[in-house]
């Protein structure tokens, strides 16, 4: 017997191509369609719109990717985003300085992340349930703090920051891009990143490798919540006021974007850049429907069809590639 009997598994460029999620094709298709439908779709102003609208969703979807890679889920991000916004706004109105208010929001994020992370990472409770609970806690706290009333009238600095640009690129887009860069460095070039994939794929293996897997697991939730707390600055800049439940529901869109981008709920399989594509697809769809003035009820149907169609494509390609192999 010779070495040839052991098949060396190779990574062909085709494998990389296979990684590109089906939503990419839809994204390209939509861009063409919308551009034909209304030439202004590709105008600088509109691209800025898409960028701005995508950036906040991306801020939630990127850390959500890490969480889903650990075979988890964080339903509390929308409510937490709202809560952190409320906290910052309330403290600013109460006369705190911006850094102090932000620090307080970070603390809130830290606590939320620690609660989620501890219950999921250390106690092994199902993430869906835990974060559904903390979602209620966060939304409830926002309501209690504000008594349901939005808070406005704080420093215009936040709005100015949100509206500022650098080399004609809106700052929020740069912030989201920076987050992407940092997270992809973290995920693909550091030990922590390896452990994220390992937790989703085989947490016991990580534990047996002598790593404090629970701590790493909790760390992912902390990271997510802290990012969300910082994202509250963008939200406040955008809405120029804080609303208790303004972002509730955004978690589902973030999760949808992640999964559209090819990350699966199981086994730590996924791709961070896919999430960018997923977020873009959702943002482009919503923007394009408005730019083409599509009838409101039809818009609602279209969002559903995007999700289903993108996954249909993935499904078919997976089948095709299995046949080839």
């Amino acid at each position: 017997m010779t070495d040839q009997t052991v098949h060396a598994t190779t990574v062909a460029p085709a494998a990389l191509l296979r990684r590109i999620p089906g939503v990419t094709f839809i994204l390209v298709g939509m861009i063409v369609l919308f551009a034909v439908g209304n030439p202004r779709f590709l105008s600088a102003v509109n691209l800025t719109n898409i960028g701005l609208q995508a950036s906040l969703l991306l801020m939630l979807a990127l850390p959500m990717t890490l969480i889903i890679l650990t075979a988890g889920l964080d339903l509390s991000v929308g409510a937490l985003l709202g809560l952190c916004g409320v906290v910052i706004a309330a403290l600013l109105v109460a006369g705190w300085s911006l850094p102090a208010a932000v620090a307080a929001a970070m603390l809130v994020g830290l606590v939320a992340g620690a609660v989620n992370g501890f219950l999921v990472g250390y106690l092994g409770l199902p993430a869906f349930v835990v974060t559904l609970g903390t979602m209620g806690l966060c939304e409830g706290l926002s309501l209690v703090i504000t008594n349901g009333d939005p808070i406005g009238g704080f420093t215009p600095v936040l709005e100015a920051f949100y509206r500022s640009t650098l080399f004609a690129v809106p700052t929020p887009v740069l912030v989201a891009a920076t987050l992407y860069g940092l997270l992809s460095l973290l995920l693909y070039r550091t030990r922590f990143g390896n452990y994220v994939f390992a937790i989703g794929g085989n947490k016991d293996a990580l534990h047996l490798a002598g790593i404090n897997a629970n701590l790493v697991h909790m760390g992912v939730y902390l990271l997510c919540s802290l990012t969300v707390a910082l994202s509250a600055l963008l939200l406040l800049g955008r809405t120029n006021s804080a609303h208790p439940s303004v972002a509730v529901g955004m978690e589902f869109e973030a999760i949808a974007a992640v999964v559209l981008g090819g990350t699966s709920f199981e086994k730590g399989q996924g791709w961070l850049f896919g999430t960018v594509l997923g977020v873009l697809a959702i943002s482009v769809l919503r923007n394009g429907l408005n730019v083409l003035s599509v009838e409101p009820s039809l818009q609602v149907v279209c969002v559903g069809l995007l999700l289903i169609a993108a996954l249909l494509i993935d499904r078919n390609r997976k089948q095709a590639s299995r046949d080839i192999a």
Partner: protein, 298 residues
């Protein structure tokens, strides 16, 4: 002629906004303009409402009819839209301070005050009432509540048992009322900030065998007017989406066609009771737009 109007409403659930959209369509047709409707896919979603404003800016409509889901949040966006050269008229809900072509709407404070007084007078100036509020932070909701409170001050023998948000919604109105009924055995009257929650509350009262407790509300959508007719609701302060839509469109189009228009048109609202209700039973599609001139100067 041939202008494109982008008309914003807050949701596809509440028939009040269908009234607005019908009014806009009718007047636009009459004046030779076309309408594009924008409604957030999720009811009253603030960020989505903002994105839609931004996206509409790209299409450069000749006129935007705008009602805020939340004035504080949307004001900066609308200001930028106006700065970029798109004429915007504010209707239905006040949307803060920006160079709008005009504001067309109603006096929510007065509607709240009037309808509360109607109830209190019906109760003979004494008794226990509960309030079902609208969405906090919306101009209509907050102003109406202020009107209720002002009326309460004038009636020392009317006691407010509870004031809870029902968010202009029917199901919430029903559930909040169900619980209030358990909590208080001596409710004599109910004030709701909108028809939908009033109708929900009336159902709750009826199935608890307390159908005789009078309920008042604000709006006057056909369903609620029918309820006035058959006695489920005592009275409604008219907040007429159809008229608002008509007048806003007329004023807006005139403004962009170079006419001088009033900066503020406040449409008066009647108190709809069994005695006068027939006018509001007519479906929106069969109504005829009033002329803006009727309300100018009021």
């Amino acid at each position: 002629a041939g202008e494109v109007i982008a008309a914003f409403t807050k949701n596809q659930v509440d028939p009040h906004f269908e009234g607005v959209r019908a009014g806009v369509e009718q007047m636009a047709k009459k004046m030779g303009a076309t309408v594009r409707q924008y409604v957030p896919t999720k009811p009253n979603n603030i960020t989505e409402g903002m994105s839609q404003l931004e996206d509409v800016g790209v299409t450069k409509p000749n006129l935007v009819l705008f009602m805020p889901i939340d004035p504080k949040a949307q004001l900066p966006t609308i200001k930028r839209l106006i700065e970029s050269g798109t004429p915007v008229l504010n209707y239905n809900d006040k949307a803060g301070d920006a160079p709008y072509l005009a504001f067309v709407g109603q006096d929510d404070y007065k509607l709240g005050y009037d309808i509360a007084k109607t109830l209190f007078d019906h109760l003979g100036g004494k008794g226990n009432v509960v309030i079902l509020e609208g969405i906090k932070g919306s101009n209509t909701g907050d102003e109406r509540k202020r009107g209720f409170d002002a009326a309460l001050k004038e009636y020392p023998n009317i006691k407010l048992l509870a004031s809870q948000p029902a968010n202009f919604q029917r199901l919430l109105g029903l559930q909040v009322m169900e619980n209030l009924i358990q909590q208080f055995s001596d409710i004599n009257g109910v004030i709701a900030a909108a028809d939908a929650s009033a109708l929900g509350a009336a159902e709750a009262l009826k199935s608890a065998g307390r159908g005789n407790v009078p309920v008042v509300s604000i709006n006057g959508v056909p369903e609620a007017v029918e309820a006035v007719k058959n006695g489920s609701l005592l009275a409604i302060a008219e907040f007429n989406g159809f008229k608002i839509g008509c007048v806003a469109t007329e004023i807006g189009l005139k403004a962009i066609r170079g006419e001088v228009v009033p900066k503020r048109v406040v449409i008066p609202g009647a108190v709809i009771t069994k005695a006068n209700h027939t006018e509001w039973l007519v479906p929106y599609q069969q109504r005829t737009c009033p002329a803006a001139a009727e309300y100018v100067g009021q």
